[in-house]
Amino acid sequence: MYDIGMTVFNGLAWAMATFLVAAGLTLIFGILHILNFAHGGFFMIGAYVSYSIMMAFGGSLPLWLYLVGAMASGIVVGLLGWAVDKLVFRRLRDVEDAYSLIATYALLLVCGGAVQLTWGLNYMGVMPPAALNTVVFVGDMFMPTFTIFIILSGIVAYIGLEFFISKTRTGRLIRVVAADPWMAQLLGLNVKKIYLITVIFSFAMAGAAGGLLMPNQSLSPELGGIFLLQAFGVVILGGMGSIRGAFYAALLLGLIESFGTYFFPQYPGIFFLLALAVILLLKPEGIMGKGQTA
């Protein structure tokens, strides 16, 4: 029982951490049809910004500073999203996908370079805030509070996003533009503005995710790539552009990875890729079918 419980717990932790990064990625793909390779880079910048905020406050990380830092990272990266939309994404709307891939990959390299120039090449580590640096015992299982917090953050982010997309006015307009931007403009909707809102919102989520996941990570210029790969897996398997799909795909892949590593501890990180390959062979359109944003 102990082993199964802990393995599920670890799978959930993987799933929700990955979902926090994947949510913005799938949103931008679903609405703008741009596959944003740079997403991991902006997630990484969010983590570094949070780190700098913490250092500016004396190097310790009380809970309030952790939360405010994550929010501030969201705002900073959201503003970067504004710049990226104006400078890059806007030019990618009517060109072939290959150009998008090249442009956003270049942007990922720029992110990595900017991080190296600003924060250096050294690995840096941060402990979770003291209030979350405890352990909860359930039976003979011990669950780190910080991990519980990340799992809950992922669930809250998912519910919040579902509500935003399906129940709010802005969310509805985003869906309308995603489904048929040509008609949307002929109904008086400012499509560019809605794209801009989507990009800022997605980037802000990446930045906030960086701030939230910063503790317990080794902060290095490679951080972007690690999460990006997992997030891409989740977005592809969830059916490109589907937030709900990304959430369930994250759960599925997280559990597969976690159980795989439990049974074959010498092969960590392999099962996620294996599962991704096998499921996509069987169901190339992803687990949720295609063409739905929400």
């Binding site: 509805r172 869906r175 309308v176 008609m183 002929l186 109904l187 008086g188």
Partner: protein
């Protein structure tokens, strides 16, 4: 006639899809409240001309004035907010939202003008009343077409462009659409430009005829003038 009397004034417009020159020097006018038919064969350039007026597809050159102002550099969504609405040939109803939600979307275009209430729309289209909560994908072609026209009206247009509004509809539905358009013209002061191949429908809904062939306007006159020259029909509309 002075240019201020025209609602829409198109002069020497060319439109291109890639390298193909689809609209070739088209000029036309529509007066406020007037209803004009744009007739031509498939591929004559009717849809391209309507899309050109909104800058929604082809690359467009030439002058388009609406309400006395040049539309050069004006975005498509801004054009709709000036009162120029297009109901496209393929209707483009959003499948995953309800009829009411689809129609309400049109209101984004009416922001700066006299709004039209949803209740008034359903008075104009009584057949849509029982379908209010139905999803877009659950409707027949005729119903979708009515929703598309209703949605266009929701934008409180000064000029409504209808692209083959009765294409593929059963005769009884065509009659309904004719009645709807007559009722709309009685209650709202708006001009219509209707691209059509269905002559009898166009005749019942409009006062003036434009003929388009290979991207050029080849005739501009009243229905009487059109009928006086049977050769026109033979040359430009016969299949």
């Amino acid at each position: 006639m002075g240019s201020t009397e025209h609602l829409l004034e198109v002069s020497g417009v060319n439109a291109f899809y890639g390298g193909s020159h689809v609209i070739q020097g088209a000029s036309l006018t529509v007066a406020p409240g007037e209803s004009v038919a744009l007739l031509g064969r498939n591929g004559a350039g009717k849809s391209t001309l309507l899309k050109s007026l909104l800058d929604a597809g082809p690359r467009v050159e030439g002058e388009i004035r609406f309400g006395g102002q040049s539309l050069a550099g004006v975005r498509p969504d801004e054009r709709t907010r000036k009162g120029l609405m297009l109901v496209p040939e393929d209707r483009r109803i959003y499948p995953d939202i309800t009829v009411t939600e689809n129609i309400e979307l049109g209101a984004h275009a009416s922001r700066d003008r006299d709004r039209i209430e949803l209740a008034e729309i359903f008075e104009l289209f009584p057949l849509l009343k029982p379908l209010k909560e139905r999803a877009g994908y659950q409707m027949s072609g005729g119903q979708q077409q009515m929703v598309a026209v209703a949605r266009g009206l929701m934008g409180a247009p000064r000029l409504l462009l209808l692209d083959e509004p009765v294409e593929g509809l059963a005769p009884v539905v065509v009659d309904e659409m004719t009645e709807h358009i007559a009722r709309i013209r009685q209650t709202r002061s708006l001009a219509l430009l209707i691209a059509e191949q269905n002559l009898s429908f166009a005749r019942r809904c409009t006062e003036r005829v434009l003929l388009i062939d290979s991207g050029r306007i080849v005739f501009d006159g009243t229905w009487d003038e059109f009928d006086a020259d049977p050769d026109l029909k033979e040359r430009y509309l016969a299949v």
